[in-house]
């Protein structure tokens, strides 16, 4: 069996598996029970389908196997006093379409810490194993396992309800879903080095989740923005690092290797959402617009820096995130000169906790010819402990200062 076929089966099992899980949570009333039952069913599918072919109705197959397993588990364990599970029968249960939505909102409930939400989403919505999630998040497996157990206990003991929030609550609850998907993507971005044996690409998982959100919330412009943002960024993934695993800056990336078909889709999605958002585009949509401007620019120099700066101004005003101010300074420097960019940074109320702030300052100072100040900034950036690829880049730029 080829890798491609194996991957395709894997994909079907995961996509259908999460819908089956969602329905089973509703019918059993227990996330724990449903997960165990569905894990069993997916395991069987992954053993059975490669040999005998994917069934015509994979979801029905998985549902039947999972339900039977759940009934067996309830009968075998008298401690499972859950009343719904105890009265489960073999009768087919229709998917009322909202099950996946309920599961999504439960995983991202505000009563769960952000770490727990991300772990739960990866487990229940992406169907990743504990081992895969731990490796992808670069967390020890027992720690991750404990996190999942505690999340499920919280849902059960505190009775986090399995429901779709009312229309009046969606405004508060939807940003949490978007945030979780973004965090998954960011984690995927980080793990460029790591265990090669784990084939999980969190960026791809995040984009799948974003597509799911678009399917479930077709009119929401922030959700549309999320999908456009992630796909536009991911379309450039191949050029972010070179063969040695070193960081390649945007200005040096080979644009011919970007996925322009995907970028066109991202642009269409963002443009459509922007038109629908009217006067008040949300922050995710604004970020999407910036990403699309970068991705559609023929060269670094030909980028519409002015438009990007205006978008960053919108973002800067809306969020208190110093990283936004940093990126805004970079954009300003491109059309108004490095002094203008530097001034923005120096006026800012707070700086980023990581190396980004010093790295950007160092670059602007270098362009202004202030080499001594730039060297100080590069050293400060290095002192804050950036990841290895960024560290090597900063060390090179510091060395270039002395020789250039």
């Amino acid at each position: 069996m080829t890798d491609e076929v194996a991957d395709a089966i894997d994909r079907v099992v995961r996509d259908e598996g999460r819908r089956v899980l969602a329905t089973l949570v509703r019918t059993t009333g227990s996330l724990e029970l449903a997960e165990e039952a569905v894990a069993d069913a997916t395991e069987r599918a992954l053993r059975h389908w490669p040999r005998h072919g994917v069934p015509d109705e994979p979801r029905a197959w998985l549902t039947t196997v999972a339900r039977r397993r759940a009934i067996d588990l309830v009968r075998a364990d008298s401690r499972r006093r859950n009343r719904e599970a105890a009265t489960m029968t073999d009768e087919p249960v229709p998917d009322d379409g909202a099950d996946l939505l309920r599961l999504l909102f439960t995983c991202c409930h505000p009563a769960l810490s952000v770490d727990r939400r991300v772990a739960l989403a990866l487990r229940t919505l992406c169907g990743l194993s504990t081992h895969e999630i731990a490796a992808a998040l670069m967390v020890a497996e027992p720690t991750l396992a404990r996190r999942l157990v505690r999340a499920r206990r919280k849902i059960a003991d505190a009775r986090i309800p399995y429901r779709v929030p009312g229309d009046d609550e969606l405004g508060d609850r939807l940003p949490a879903l978007i945030q979780v998907v973004r965090l998954v993507f960011t984690e995927g971005h980080r793990a460029t080095s790591g265990d090669e044996l784990v084939r999980v690409d969190l960026c791809v998982e995040a984009i799948h989740l974003a597509s799911l959100l678009v399917e479930l919330f077709p009119r929401d412009t922030e959700v549309a923005g999320l999908w456009a943002l992630l796909t536009a960024v991911h379309a450039r993934a191949r050029t972010r690092t070179d063969a040695a695993g070193d960081v390649v800056l945007l200005r040096d990336q080979d644009r011919s290797r970007w996925d322009h078909d995907v970028i066109a889709l991202a642009e269409a999605g963002a443009t459509d959402a922007w038109a629908r958002a009217g006067d008040s585009p949300g922050p995710v949509l604004v970020e999407a617009a910036i990403a699309v401007l970068h991705a559609t620019a023929p060269t670094y120099a030909a980028t519409d820096w002015r438009a990007i700066t205006e978008l960053y101004e919108l973002l800067d005003a809306a969020t208190a995130n110093p990283a936004v101010r940093c990126n805004r300074a970079v954009a300003v420097a491109e059309w108004a000169g490095p002094a203008a960019g530097l001034a923005l940074l120096d006026e800012a109320p707070t700086r980023t906790p990581d190396h980004l702030w010093d790295a950007v300052r160092a670059d602007l100072l270098t362009r202004l010819g202030r080499r001594d100040d730039a060297a100080v900034a590069y050293r400060a950036a290095l002192a804050s402990g950036p990841p290895p690829p960024e560290r090597r880049l900063l060390e090179r730029r510091l060395a270039d200062l002395a020789t250039g």
């Binding site: 003991d157 009775r159 986090i160």
Partner: protein
């Protein structure tokens, strides 16, 4: 129906019997009226200056130490609690949002362990 404890935490150490707390007490009265029969128990506590801590080291027959003050000095102190009936956490949270400690300090929502019938 499931029950939750709503634990009310306030900054400082308010004395609910003092006249300067009359406004806050009125707020609590409004919450009581709003929640009605959902409230199945609760109490307002005297300030932590009236508290006494009891500790016995090394098991029930060990040395008993009785001391003046709450179990821990904290910036926000436990001022009272409600026991409410709510179908799930979201409902309990909706009640908690109307409890005055939520805007003066913090309201902690904890599920009660169901007692065997």
């Amino acid at each position: 129906m499931p029950q939750y404890a709503l634990l009310t935490y306030h900054p400082g150490d308010p004395d609910w019997t003092a006249p300067d707390q009359a406004d806050t007490m009125a707020e609590y009265g409004a919450f009581g009226a709003h929640a009605g029969d959902a409230i199945v128990g609760g109490a307002a506590l005297f300030p932590t200056t009236t508290a006494t801590s009891v500790r016995i080291t090394g098991g029930p027959d060990g040395e008993v130490v009785v001391s003046d003050g709450p179990f821990a000095e904290t910036k926000e102190v436990l001022g009272g609690l409600y026991l409410v009936e709510a179908a799930d956490l979201d409902e309990a949270i909706e009640y908690a949002k109307r409890v005055p400690s939520s805007w003066h300090g913090t309201t902690e929502v904890r599920p009660l362990v169901p007692m065997p019938e």
